[in-house]
Every structure is written in structure tokens, then in C-alpha cells.
């Protein structure tokens, strides 16, 4: 359990820093989390983060990284739907790290 303070609000997180309540998320939360990891979010990051939020909205789960990679490829093209590109954006693992910034739970199957 933990908390983060973003924009004057205290938000609950789990022990790994994922937001407890999906509805607490704002873009500032993503910026804050990225900063903690020493990362500056670019449009390319946001493309993935927004994609994940839409995916969750539709399917109610955070996708496994393989599924994410494939789905990104379908939507944004093969130059973005590959592990290398996604790992460059999210060095801690595209599914794990991007889901965290997107305010989603950790992908099912990630231990």
C-alpha cells in the first residue's frame, strides 16, 4: 500500500505503485509517475498510454505485452508494433510500465 500526491490530491496505490482506483487517473498522474522513473513523456508515450486506456475501457483488462504489441501494430503500424520500439519507450517493460502510467492494474499474468 502507498500513496502519491498529484495536483494536491492524495491517491492510493498498491505496493508496486499502481493506482488503486482507475477513476483517480489524470494525465498529471502519468507525468508524475514517469518523472519518478526519470522519464519525460513524449507524444509517442502518450499514444501507447491512451491506447491502453481505450483497451481497458473496452475489455476491462490490461493486455499482456504480446497482445499489446500486436494491437499497437494493427492500429499504429508495424514500425510501432514491435518489442524494440515499445521497450525503448518503456524500458521497464511496455505492458507493466505503460499500464502503470495509464492508471490500469498490472497486466494479468505478470508476476
Amino acid at each position: 500500500m502507498g500513496t502519491i500526491e498529484v495536483g494536491g490530491k492524495v491517491l492510493e496505490t498498491d505496493e508496486e505503485g499502481y493506482l488503486k482506483n482507475l477513476s483517480d487517473w489524470t494525465p498529471e498522474v502519468a507525468e508524475y509517475m514517469a518523472k519518478q522513473d526519470g522519464l519525460e513523456l513524449t507524444d509517442n508515450h502518450w499514444e501507447v498510454i491512451n491506447f491502453l486506456r481505450e483497451y481497458y475501457e473496452e475489455y476491462q483488462i490490461a493486455p499482456a505485452v504480446r497482445v499489446l504489441t500486436k494491437a499497437i501494430g494493427k492500429k499504429l503500424g508495424p514500425d510501432k508494433g514491435n518489442s524494440k520500439y515499445l521497450y525503448e519507450l518503456f524500458p521497464y517493460g511496455p505492458a507493466k510500465q505503460a499500464c502503470k502510467y495509464a492508471g490500469l492494474p498490472k497486466p494479468t499474468g505478470c508476476v
Partner: protein, 135 residues
């Protein structure tokens, strides 16, 4: 955290034997944790590139019923997640005809495309599996 699911290279290196896994879903979606846990196991199993199929029978057919409203039971409506299975390359979904009919349902009442099979046909499929897990 192991992002095993991302290892395209790993898949090529290891290969290995593909077994036939069948997950049998028999219980109503809410009231117990079986349906949700079963679905999670299925999603995880997708990472291992096995031959996976799902069967829905008895009250398990309700897991796929359209129009679930779960606010009153204070559980997440996870039925949209069955529609994500296709993206996980899990496309063998079988529903028992008798179970549907007993509950006044047809394939049109379900959130995903399924193959409706008789109990006899499902029994036959089951016999062909390497592993059958029931939830």
C-alpha cells in the same frame, strides 16, 4: 514480473510440445470467484502458446450472457473480457446446447461468437484433450 508473453525470440528458441488444454466453465459468473479466476488462468495460459479451448456449460453459460449489470453485487462486470480472447489467439469457444436451451438462451444472447455443440460432441472433444481444467 516476467514479461514472458513478449518473448518472440524465446518462442522461437524453445518451441516445445503443444498440448491441448480445455478449460471448462460450469459456474455462474458472480457469487463465487471461479468464473473470474478461471478466465484469468485462461489469459495467462495464452502466454505459453498451447492449444487452448474453452467450454461453457451448466450455469457457466451465464458468464457469456449479454447485458450483465453488476453494480448491485459490487463486482466488476468482466464479461467484456471474453471479447479480448480473440486478441490472445484464443478462438475456440464452445457452448453446450442443452445448457443454453435449459436456460432459454441462444447463441445470440452471448457477448462473443461461439460454437454451440451438444453434450455428446463436447464429451468427444473432451476425450481428445491432454489437460482438462474445470472451474
Amino acid at each position: 514480473m516476467s514479461e514472458v508473453t513478449g518473448g518472440v525470440e524465446v518462442e522461437e528458441e524453445i518451441g516445445g510440445t503443444v498440448k491441448k488444454f480445455m478449460f471448462v466453465n460450469r459456474k455462474a459468473p458472480y457469487g463465487t470467484i471461479y468464473a473470474l479466476e478461471g478466465l484469468e488462468v485462461v489469459l495467462i495460459s495464452a502466454a505459453f502458446d498451447q492449444d487452448v479451448s474453452l467450454v461453457f456449460l451448466d450455469d457457466g453459460v451465464y458468464q457469456l450472457k449479454k447485458g450483465q449489470h453488476t453494480k448491485a453485487v459490487d463486482m466488476k462486470n468482466f464479461s467484456p473480457t471474453y471479447r479480448a480472447l480473440e486478441g490472445y489467439d484464443i478462438d475456440k469457444l464452445y457452448v453446450e446446447k442443452e445448457s443454453l436451451e435449459e436456460r432459454g438462451l441462444t447463441a445470440d444472447d452471448l457477448v462473443v461468437d461461439v460454437e454451440v455443440l451438444t453434450a455428446e460432441e463436447i464429451a468427444k472433444l473432451m476425450a481428445e484433450q491432454d489437460v482438462v481444467l474445470s472451474f
